[in-house]
Each structure stands twice: as structure tokens, then as C-alpha cells.
Chain length 344, copies 2
Amino acid sequence: MSNGELSSFIGTWLPQIENEMRQVLDIGDDVVAPHYGMMRYHLGWADTHFRPENHPSGKRLRPILCLLACAEVGGDPSQALPAAAAIEILHNFSLIHDDVEDGDEMRRHRPTVWKIWGVPQAINVGDAMFALAFAAIQRLARRGVEAKTVLAALDRFTQTCIALTEGQHLDMRFEQTPVVSVDEYMRMIQGKTAALVGAAVAIGALVGGASPRQETDLLQFGQAVGLAFQIQDDILGIWGDPNVTGKSAANDILRRKKSLPLLYALNHPRIGDRMQAAFALPVDPDQLPHILTLLEEGEVRRFAEQQMINQHALALASLNAALGERATNSALRALAEGLLYRSS
Amino acid sequence: MSNGELSSFIGTWLPQIENEMRQVLDIGDDVVAPHYGMMRYHLGWADTHFRPENHPSGKRLRPILCLLACAEVGGDPSQALPAAAAIEILHNFSLIHDDVEDGDEMRRHRPTVWKIWGVPQAINVGDAMFALAFAAIQRLARRGVEAKTVLAALDRFTQTCIALTEGQHLDMRFEQTPVVSVDEYMRMIQGKTAALVGAAVAIGALVGGASPRQETDLLQFGQAVGLAFQIQDDILGIWGDPNVTGKSAANDILRRKKSLPLLYALNHPRIGDRMQAAFALPVDPDQLPHILTLLEEGEVRRFAEQQMINQHALALASLNAALGERATNSALRALAEGLLYRSS
């Protein structure tokens, strides 16, 4: 597939991913209708009264990566639709619980599920979407995927769920920890962000008939893309243009977010002490110029960009290993570059 | 298997169930050790400092039912151990989240996970155990169970997870609802209690090589046992002997619990109005004799016992259909009777 075909691929498959997800959620009778209504609200398909609505609900990047990987190894993307739907439902389950755990009141410009229906229902709605993600991936068998391949996909999917909870565990613990190392941070985003992107690509490839070696390389590709994406996010959180990101300048500094650049700076042999002093709770907006100067002195942005470039290089090397010459024109490559060289 | 062999069966297999569960949880490195430590605490294997402990942690009835069903259809119970472990891990995931949702501070005479480590970590620990339940059941493949059978077991398992969340949804909603019908209540306990007992039996039978017809009958058996068990619990919650149950007399009346007898009484054509008046919040302990007299006038206990007897009869008929003549001496039958004719 050439780069140019990427947008037509997305245009073709996005509605089918949505359709597959809707079929998975199309269960339950009138008695439990509000249970499924809350899920449809979270997915942008319903308003708070469970009336149909089309609210923007994310780019569905992970399921697109799943279908692309299937196609790139020579498979039929329609066979991977249940896996793509499962990945997106799982992602949304984790968002519902994250919102409860972080106390976030808004998501995608609407109140979060717990904010409207309370914490107990939100926990349970998340649990239901977790179960439905497994229901979704089991539908692979209906598309003629061999039982052994379905089990391999389920195994990867389950390991990913476990990694997600490990990442979330570390994220919450780090909030309470004064000093977090860069290595610990990388471990956390490996679980929280990279694992699911890697799984999306690896499971798509599995369904498409990838060799075990190809699957491992594509898993690596996906994880590296996920890490690079998160590091890019961290860079934009400090140096992104507020007019483009829609957030205030140096937002992550004001929120004292434990992001890669800031953890590097706090642990820095030269500027670390001064960073820690300036970073004391709460960060005074007047301190921003001073902190940004410190970051410059420590070459913090350069460090973070180098980390991103390393992950990007690892992603490309893995893609080359998996696809050989076809990697150059691969839509996976095009999509990955689009994700990384962005300004918001 | 004769009745007499039941206790030796339990003695043989309980340690192996425990061992299988421990293997499933034996993952993660030092960095995420507290994540798994909280799970081991909940399961009674560790104290709050994650030091090894052996705290009583439930009778493991569901996994025993699973292995028994496997044996009763002629299978090798060791093949069903991964399913038995999965059922028990799933049950424990649901307890962790239920405790958060209900705000319960104690379980099995110890503080609950959320009470010690906070709601966010407890939600995430529950999610991890949910994922580990799927990891557990996927281990069936390692015991030589055919891929198609593993997928059938996974399908039943996933449907059960969905039913659990539907039951929990209704349970929480009914707490906020002034009038709940007996039918609605039965629907709720079908999801919250009966589904998992049914799945334990059905999945054990599947692994043991049951025919589809046998599996359906044994599913029915398990669900009916689960319903009968819950109704028995409801009866003991009002008329149980406090010296035996360890709870105060008529505990469920004082707690205004929406149990089968009380919902029947509140909807009763003759005593309903007077029940609703006496049941007003909060229930005055002095009103207890009056309420108990009303229940007698409405023949409420008789109604509840009849419901239990009906479920019990359905259970036996299903067991007969599944096992034929062997049903009479079946350990499944013995175990079911032991569960139902109890005083605490």
C-alpha cells in the first residue's frame, strides 16, 4: 500500500470499525438499557438521555493501525475488524476508569461518566466494557480466523490488559512519589501507552497471517511508535504552541506533571537542585521564565527529542525487519510519521 | 462419584486450585510488586505489608463445582484447574469492585483493599484481577484442552462477565428505586449470583467433554443452585438464628435490604401498604415485631421457601437430564443440598 492510499484506507474502514463496535454493544434488553446507554454516551453515540448523538470520539488510531498491519502482511482487513473493535473498546474501558481514578470531570468536551452517573456506576460500566472487549475479539472466530490464531490473539490481548494495569499502577504511585527516575517513567508509559499500540499492530498482523518473527517485529514497531508518540506529547506539553495545542503555554510545568523532560530535569546532575527548588508546590506562573531557562541550560528539550528520535529509529528498523523493501512505502510508516511530526 | 467421596475430592483439589491461582498471579517484577501484593492481600495470601499470611478467604465453592462437573461427565479434573482458578479470580475481582461501589470497609474480618490503599488503586487492582482471570482460563490450552473447547469456555466465561455487570448495574439502581418487583429482583440475582455458579459448572463440564445438551443442562443446574442459594440467604437474613448466622435478628429488615421476601411483602396486595408504611426510613427496631407479624399474615416466608424449593427442583431435574441415573449419587447433588439446607 502506498502512502497516498492511507487516507482512502481510513475512509473505507473507519465506518466498518464503528459498525463492528456497535454490533458488540448491541445487546441487553430494556431492563438494562441504561447500562449500555452509559457506554454509548462515553463512545459519543448517545447524549446523557441516551438519545442518539454523534459526538466526536477520538481518531480511532489504534484500530486503524490494527487493520493496516493486517493488510500490510497480506491479510484481509475485514477479518481483523473484531480485533480492531476490541482494541478500541478496551482503550475506552481504560479511559472510563482513568477518569474515575484521576478525578477528571471532562473528556472530549463533555462531563465524564462518573461525573454524571456517579463513581459506582462508572466503575461497573468500565467493567462491562472490559468484558465486551473480550466479547469483541472472540468474534474473530466468526470471520473464519482459525481457532489457534484466535487464541494467540487473545493471549496477546490479555497480556496487554495486564500491562495496562501495571502502567496505571505506576502512574498513580508516581503521583505520590517525590523522585521518579527517567527509567521508571519509561517503564510506566511502556505499560500505559505503548503496550496497547503494540498490541493493535501485532494482533492485526497475527490475523493477517504474519510469521512469528514478523509479529514480534511489528509488536516492537507499535510499541516504539507508542513511546515516541508519548514523548512527543510530553515535548508539546512544555514547548507546544498554545494556539495549536489549545492548552496554556508550558501547561505541564504549571500542572507539575511528571513527564519525561521534567523528570530528566529534576534528576539532572547540573540543574536538578535548582529545578527541584523552582518546581516546589505550587508552581508560581511568574517562575515560568526561570524554569524554561533552566531547561535550556540542561539541554532538556534536546534530550527528549533524542529519546523520541531513538524510538522512531527503532520503529523504522522494526518495520524494515518485518516488511523488507515494502516498508518504505508502507502506510504503517506513513501513519507513524504523521503521528510523530505533529504540532498538537 | 458417591456422596461420601465429596469431602475427599475437596481435600484433594482445594490445594491444587490454590496452587493454580498462585501461578497465575506469580508475575511482575519488583517495580510493580505492590500491585500484585494488593491482590495477594485480598486473596488472603499476604498481610498489609505484603508479607506471606494465610487468612481464611472463602470456601472456593465455585471452583470446586467446576472440577466436580468436569469429573461427573467423565473428564479429568486436573484439565479443568485453569477454569476453576479463573472462576475464583473473577469472583474476587468482582468483590474488590463491589466493596468500592458499596463503600464496604470490611471483608472477611479485614479492611477492604480500597479502605487501605484508596479507591483509585482498588479500581485498578480489580481491573488487573479481571485481566488475570482471562489469563487463567487461557491456560486450559497448556493442559491439552483442544483450541475449540478453550474458545467455547472463553465464550461462556465472557458472557458471564457481562451478566455480572448487568446484575451489579441493577443492584445499584434498585438501591435508588422506591419500588422493585419480584421479577426485577430475580433478574438481578440471575446476573449477580446465579450466572457465575452456572458458568463454573458449565465450563467444567465443557472441559470434561460434555455434550452440548449436557452442558446446557448443567448450566441450568448451576444457575438454579445459585438462585436457590441466594433465596436461602435472603430467608436467613430475616428468620435466621442470630446465634448461628452471626448477624443480628431480622438484620435485613433493619438494613432495609431489597431481598426477595421483603420485596414480595412490599408488593403484596394485602399487606403491601402496611409494609411500606412500617418500612419507612429508618426502620425503628421497635417496629420489628409488627413487621414480622405482617410478614406472617402475608405468608411471606412460605412464598420465599416455595421459590427456593422450585429452584431446587429445577436444579435436580436439570442434573437428572444431564447425568441420568448417575445423578442420584452425584457429588454435585450432594454439594448442592449441603449449600441449600444450611442454617448460616
